[in-house]
Amino acid sequence: MLAKLTKHELYATGRIFLPLYSIMLLLSLINRGFSSIGELSSPFKTLKGFMVAAYVISIVATLVITFVIIILRFYKNLMSDEGYLMFTLPVKPSQLINAKLIVSFLWNILSIFVVATSLFIILGTSKNLEMFRGLLDLAVTGLKSTFGSSYPILIAEYIIMIFVCTIYQILMIYVSIAIGHLLNEHKVIGSFAAYIAINTIIQMLVSIIVLIWTNLELSIFTYTPYYGTTETITGNNVNYSVSIVQAITKQIIPFSIIFSVLCCVAFYLVTNYIFKKKLNLN
């Protein structure tokens, strides 16, 4: 049944996303075409300007709409009148969540790839590619010199982190909508309030954990993964940077991943509990 739900979910969302992605890729092709022509006569110049604007809007739209659709789809399909259809299908509530989560995750990742592809189409001249390769080499050299042999681990950790954070964001939206929906009135406002409340609680938790942690063992520096600020390290003390390097790859990122995964599990379980026991469709 999960496969069927996922199939229908892909179909229901694909009819919005696929045209959106196609338009963006098409606009990038058009813009690439314009930029390769060189000098243009004035009516074409106006058209070119228009196309550039349309392209920028389409990129922003793709990234924003991806999230908006994820929210609307969950709300409309499960919490509004359509919920009467979905929750009386012979499936478990968890399967409804899983199907939505899988498909939302896929579109999220795909939207990043589509934007990357379109940038590649627009900027992918041989000169730019050369420069890009140079920058990549530079980045790898930089990573190597700072993190030594453990830099592939760092990259792997980052990729896992991106995946986990995507799921975290989606599930946090789901649980907020589910909580807001417990109210008999003002469900949408309730969902926003729940989102803000959950966010605040988690920020506080993270701050407390970081505070305890830094006091326990890392008095040499402060690093809070969720705010993304590192205190600048002065001087070229080797031991200093080694401990930071180790802290990043061995403690901070793994901690963030584990913490986010735990949050995801909590979000998921709460959403599932509400769907199973506290469903309150209007």
Binding site: D81, L85, F87, L279, L281
Partner: protein, 232 residues
Amino acid sequence: MSVILECKSLTKKFGSTTALFNVNLSLERGKIIGLLGPNGSGKTTLIKIINGLLVPDTGSIKIAGMNPGVESKKIVSYLPEKTYLPDWMKVSEAISFFKDFYGDFEEKRAYDMLHRLNLDPTKRLKTLSKGTKEKVQLILVMSRRANLYCLDEPIGGVDPAARDYILNTIITNYDENATVIISTHLIADIENVLDEVVFIKEGSLVLHAPVDEIREKEGKSIDSLFREVFRC
């Protein structure tokens, strides 16, 4: 006769209001049952509990011996009072959707009924009127070979001519092993098709009896009895 639905001291509260109070009800297979009561009497709450959309506070409910869940949903066909189909879907897509999820759905039956009502399956639902959407939903729900049909206000939004067709559809589309629960306050329209009636008032069951028995004993129609019981 085997029992399709068994409720024991079912109670459901919403905050301080009691939607259902201590409902004991046992329905047999092969009947058309009118679930009758004024607005807000708890009809929809009971139907939602049968379909697993609400969980009762206390008491138990069994559908063919099962608690509401995945297995019970396979044998219960539910028509809510909402228009619950995604409006971007074409009628034919809604049919495929039902066919995909319900093993007892008969596609041919659905297309036959659409054809009889002159409905175009290639139309999108959002282009249809509210009454037409309700017809499409009823066709989907009645195209299943379910054991229990729960129809919440199936004739509320359609014109009298379509009402007759819909009632006819209901009577001719359930088999002798299945039970149909019709919730409505338009009693006169459905009176003739009912085998039994259940009167529900302010969340409590006030009467559950065969229609013939009522007519014999009380010497009046269900409609007039209803007006008497629920006099304001």
